[in-house]
């Protein structure tokens, strides 16, 4: 590997490497994918892979975690997005194909995609 020749090179390397430990560092955004049997059957794993790929491609700082069934099996795959103290937004029927638009609208533009919303929980919950 190339030797580091300056502090700038070290800082650049650090930025590149930070993704490696993303899951261990603080972030204000958490994306939660429903991964009960119902979610998995409806393709939640593929959805989650699409989310991970999209975050990577756009270099977005967010955690992705999984939860069990929350009882709305008919609308799986369910995806929650929580940003800071904003209300937590639950989206239904999130297929891999629509993941890029969801990420673009919600995380980059900051607009909730109303047509896919199935519920909201206020105040950091």
């Amino acid at each position: 590997m190339p030797k580091l020749k300056s502090l700038e090179e070290l800082q650049k390397l650090r930025q590149q490497l930070q993704g490696d430990i993303k899951a261990r560092t603080e972030t204000s955004t958490t994306i939660t994918v429903g991964m009960g049997t119902c979610g998995i059957a409806a393709g939640a794993r593929e959805t989650m892979h699409a989310i991970l790929a999209e975050l990577e491609a756009r270099n977005i700082d967010a955690h992705v975690t999984t939860v069990g069934c929350i009882g709305m099996c008919s609308r799986e795959p369910l995806v929650d997005i929580q940003q800071g103290d904003e209300p937590r937004v639950t989206y239904g029927n999130i297929t891999p194909a629509i993941v890029p638009r969801l990420i673009e609208e919600h995380l980059i533009q900051g607009n909730v995609v109303d047509e896919w919303v199935v519920g909201r929980v206020a105040g950091g919950g």
């Binding site: 590997m1 650090r14 430990i21 991964m35 990577e56 955690h63």
Partner: protein, 594 residues
Amino acid sequence: MAERYRADVLVSCLHDRVPDLMPALEAEVKRRGLEGEIKVVEAGCRGFCSMGPVLLIQPDGIFYIGVQPADVPELVEETLVKGRIVERLTYKEPTTHARIPHYGDIPFHAKQMRIVLRHCGLVNPESVEEYIAVGGYQALGKVLTSMSPEEIIEEVKKSGLRGRGGAGFSTGRKWEAGRKAEGEIKYVLVNGDEGDPNCFMDRALMEADPHSILEGLIIGAYVVGAHQGFIYIPYEHTRAVRSVKNAVEQAREYGLLGEDILGSGFDFDVELRLGAHSFVGGESTALMHAIEGKVSEPRPKHVHTTEKGLWGRPSCLNNVKTLNIVPEIINRGAEWFASIGTETSKGTQVFSLAGKINNVGLAEAPMGITVRELVFDVGGGVPEGREFKAIQIGGPSGGFIPASLLDMPMDYETLAEAGSMMGTGGVVVIDDRTCVVDTARYFLNFLRDESCGKCTSCREGIRRMLEILTRITEGQGEMADLETLETLGRVVQAVSMCGLGKTAPNPVLSGLRYFHDEYVAHIVDHKCPAGVCKALIEYYIIEDKCTGCGLCRRKCPQEAISGEKKEPHVIDPALCIKCGICSDVCKFDAVGVR
């Protein structure tokens, strides 16, 4: 290039106990097709040694203890695939028995403040990339590009950092002396020879976060103007040796060691020196003798090692924890560090908790934490509902701090005033079933073996004190012995050359100070109140409690117990060797000691 994982499984406190766990986890993650999505990392000591192997699953902070390979399929299925907690693997609070699934909520963790152990259990010690990702070597870059050695000395002085090897000398002043020392060739040295029998923080740190030590060392070298360093580690600490060796190689590959570090024009490299482990070997001059290939014995220090040390050249020796703290002071500022701790003792102290305490392991807390907070809040209290008697702090030559001083804040000065010392922060908790005389005898026995024998006061003084203590535990003591112990102790303290002799009488003198009655009970009443000293106790069966189950009768190696089925048994004192097996096996607490 970086890869995005959605969860990291950080495995700690393996201690080579469960070699199959890592392969089992990796295989299961692969089998479930979770590769590239879940990363499994072996991440060094988390301090929760008694609970190992432990798993921390990030970003959720789910914490599992005592994980075995057989638990892996369920754990991966439930937690990593489905996001559910496996209740039976979670931590159980020793007093309330409540299950605590998240790491941050466990009192042992929540009550700590981690500066020295900041990366332990969070980064992979074998990966310089992970260390750089969490901000490693930034402090080095900062000092090499924008700070003069004098500015760094000022900063370290202002922080109030004191050497963490035990003596607590100001690091800023040591570095200043090193900087001012004249000589073309100077050395910086790392002391990784941890000698206290119940301490393992230095070893744990070398295993879990070697790069932080290395970064502090390179900064120290830049300050004093050294181009060559040596890291001394006991040969027996194989994992620490492996970890530090690997770190040095990685740092070289990235140009963080060698010529023209980060383009600054500063050259520095380091070599490992391995030696046989000994208690006195951690003393600065003894350690330098060992690096030179001589017998590791101390020498008088009227000429400081910062002027004439290794091979007669100016040498600056620091403990691994001291060096590990330096980058954090550079990054976060001297004011930040100085705001933690007490008036005279800044920052945090790593304590190793051992003896009669629930949470055996390593814990870090601000200087000035009280004995009560450390033992009961962080340590989880005394097991089996026994009564807290004292802590013995500072390693084998530390003194006792009794229950009456539970609310004493611990720093270098208060502990010294109380007849003990901070030392390296080794804490042994003793309860009402531990004898103070016997414990002092145990430590003096250790110190007698470890004394290098150079000073008569230490070599002979410890030996004589040990003889007297042994006599007292055997019921042969006289009241005049207490005065002799006191006098001998003062002489050994005053006359011995190095720290070993100067502190060795602590366990005896502090015992006489706080537990005088217990000594008198041994001598005058021929009784050991804690029921430990064999010559002074007798096992007997409590008739009311004995159910006549016969378990003790069958287990007794001397056949000293007799009795009919379902009738109270009796112990024949003439045959009894006081091994205590009957007391251990009895399910009804029917075996007493008097």
